[in-house]
């Protein structure tokens, strides 16, 4: 079943075509990687899918619903969540509170009951905190349950961002370079985590430069270059694709 369908997507910044005539599909329940050289449009694509940017033209469908014009905050309701290449942690909060924000759409956020501190709100807060702590334990962050976000090391913050994204119980999770800045053993743990997330039935879309990680976990790979689709297929197909080799290693003519 197709979960995400992108049709003829274009994004133009000034004169730059960051994404050009892009078509692709993502099947439900798979790990789908998007790779490409720097500036290929990978993060732009994430920003388009999550409505951080509005596409110049083209449509994006999630579960057969057109989500091109849906606001970012409303996409959480559809079941789309993401992490960020440059961390977007709430450094003014504790680690648990960061994860609790992820659960925002499931909490009772009506203004007047909150203002008067009704018991139902307080009960909801206790439940929300408990769920967040449970999620932190599940993901291996139990050491940081009592920590403030600004006192946590970089690697743990990457996990915290994933925990926050999972707290919204997404159907599709976009991971923007989860292994960037991590050491090899941490990257290996990310590898495991991605597989566990997929086992939960969440469709994972991965942007990553670490080829070992990408080739190891991906069911399907999409290669972008200068905003265009260069190739698509399984890890094995991508590895042998001459266009991909050319994009990464340079033109043959230049060698002359």
């Amino acid at each position: 079943m197709t979960l995400l369908r992108v049709e003829n997507l274009n994004m133009v910044f000034g004169g730059i075509h960051a994404v050009e005539n892009l078509d692709f599909k993502i099947k439900s329940g798979t790990i789908h990687s998007i790779i490409g050289p720097n500036g290929a449009g990978k993060t732009t694509l994430f920003n388009l899918i999550t409505s951080v940017y509005r596409a110049t033209t083209g449509r994006i469908f999630f579960d057969d619903q057109d989500i091109t014009e849906v606001s970012t905050y409303a996409l959480a309701e559809h079941g789309i969540s993401r992490t960020f290449q440059n961390l977007q942690i709430f450094f003014n909060m504790s680690a648990v509170e960061n994860v609790m924000v992820g659960n925002h759409r499931k909490t009772d956020s009506r203004f007047l009951p909150a203002l008067f501190g009704l018991p139902s709100i307080r009960q909801g807060e206790r439940d929300c905190r408990q769920r967040a702590e449970q999620l932190m334990c599940d993901i291996g962050l139990e050491r940081y349950i009592g920590s403030d976000a600004d006192s946590m090391p970089y690697g743990a913050l990457k996990w915290l961002e994933i925990a926050r994204a999972l707290a919204s119980q997404p159907r599709m999770l976009l991971l923007d370079e989860p292994a960037a800045g991590l050491n090899p053993s941490e990257t290996h743990e990310i590898d495991d985590l991605i597989k566990r997330i997929a086992d939960m039935g969440i469709t994972v879309v991965l942007v990553e430069h670490d080829m070992k990680l990408v080739m190891g976990v991906s069911d399907h790979i999409l290669v972008l270059d200068s905003g265009r689709k260069l190739a698509e297929g399984t890890a094995e197909e991508i590895r042998q694709n001459p266009d991909v080799l050319e994009a990464y290693l340079g033109h043959r003519q230049r060698a002359r």
Partner: protein, 314 residues
């Protein structure tokens, strides 16, 4: 009992105790006058701190909302003989609507641009109060009738003290409730990272407008109380310096700390009044205290002291 326990209950009880005991140490009506002004400023600051400290948005025009509330009370009670409580509520409702309409465009701005936008808003309100002489008495000001609730009037300084003290406690209670709820968490998330907040499902624009309106309504109610208490209003209540005073109180006391806002209001209202030698240099005291706080205690008085004590206890 356990069901009623919340971590912030201790803070409210401490504040209530201070308010209850303080009159013993106030020798004459001058000190009561200062204490009442502290309470009024504290109510504004508790609201403003939701906007500045928690949601991370600046307003350099909140004195405008304070003044609108004050003039609603002055005009409706004096000229149209409304009951003061009704005038206060209508004033708050009007400020709520006005701030909602203003927040829609203004709260799309960020950082310096938001500061400029709110600054302009405050200046326009100040100009309107100055120019609409028919209604407001213009620059000469206007007298305001006394306060009353169903025939009861706070006659003495002491009864005013209890009235303002009680209302301050309610304001603190409401603010704490809000902060310790999903709404408050969403506001702090907006402060931390707007894009991450919206990905998590927080409607950032809606929450910014909401907190702007809430803080404006707090200011309006405090303005109404001030009008009745002081008995006389001038458009200077809306001027830029008053807005800056309020922001300074919030920053000095501690951003994102409800009790910090109260302490900030207390310190900066009391200092110029008690140290009369400074009177000509009031601006200097405000400016210097803001600079010193920013250099040595970036998080403000209360949060800095809090973390100092909790580290000691460990």
């Amino acid at each position: 009992m356990k069901a009623f326990y919340k971590p912030e209950t201790g803070g409210i009880l401490a504040l209530a105790a201070i308010i209850a005991v303080l009159p013993i140490f106030l020798p004459n009506s001058f000190y009561f006058d200062v204490a009442i002004l502290v309470g009024i400023n504290a109510i504004v600051c508790v609201g403003l701190n939701l906007l500045i400290g928690y949601a991370g948005q600046i307003s350099l025009g909140h004195a405008g909302f304070f003044a609108i509330g004050a003039y609603f009370s002055g005009i409706l009670v004096g000229t149209y003989e409304w009951p003061p409580v009704a005038a206060m509520l209508i004033g708050a409702l009007f400020v709520g609507l006005l701030s909602y309409l203003l927040a829609k465009p203004i709260m799309k701005l960020r950082g310096h641009y938001l500061a400029m936008g709110t600054l302009g808003m405050g200046i326009v309100i100040s100009i309107v109060l100055n120019q609409e002489g028919e209604l407001t008495g213009g620059p000469d000001g206007m007298p305001v009738m006394g306060f009353s609730v169903f025939g009861w009037e706070p006659g003495s300084e002491l009864t005013w003290y209890w009235l303002i003290g009680g209302l301050l406690l309610i304001a603190v209670w409401l603010a704490l409730n809000l902060i310790n709820s999903p709404v408050g968490r969403a506001l702090r998330a907006v402060h931390g990272s707007e894009v991450a907040a919206s990905v998590a499902g927080v409607d950032v624009a809606r929450y910014k407008v909401l907190v702007f309106v809430v803080s404006a309504v707090f200011a309006s109610v405090a303005g109404s109380l001030f009008a009745h208490y002081s008995g006389f209003l001038t458009p200077s209540e809306a001027d830029f310096f008053h807005s800056i005073e309020l922001v300074t109180m919030v920053v000095l006391g501690g951003m994102a700390s409800v009790f910090g806002a109260v302490v900030g209001a207390a310190v900066l209202t009391t200092l110029p009044q008690l140290l009369t030698v400074f009177h000509d240099y009031e601006m200097l005291v405000f400016g210097a205290s803001l600079m010193v706080t920013m250099i040595f205690m970036r998080r403000g008085l209360v949060p800095t002291l809090q973390s100092l004590f909790s580290r000691r206890l460990k």
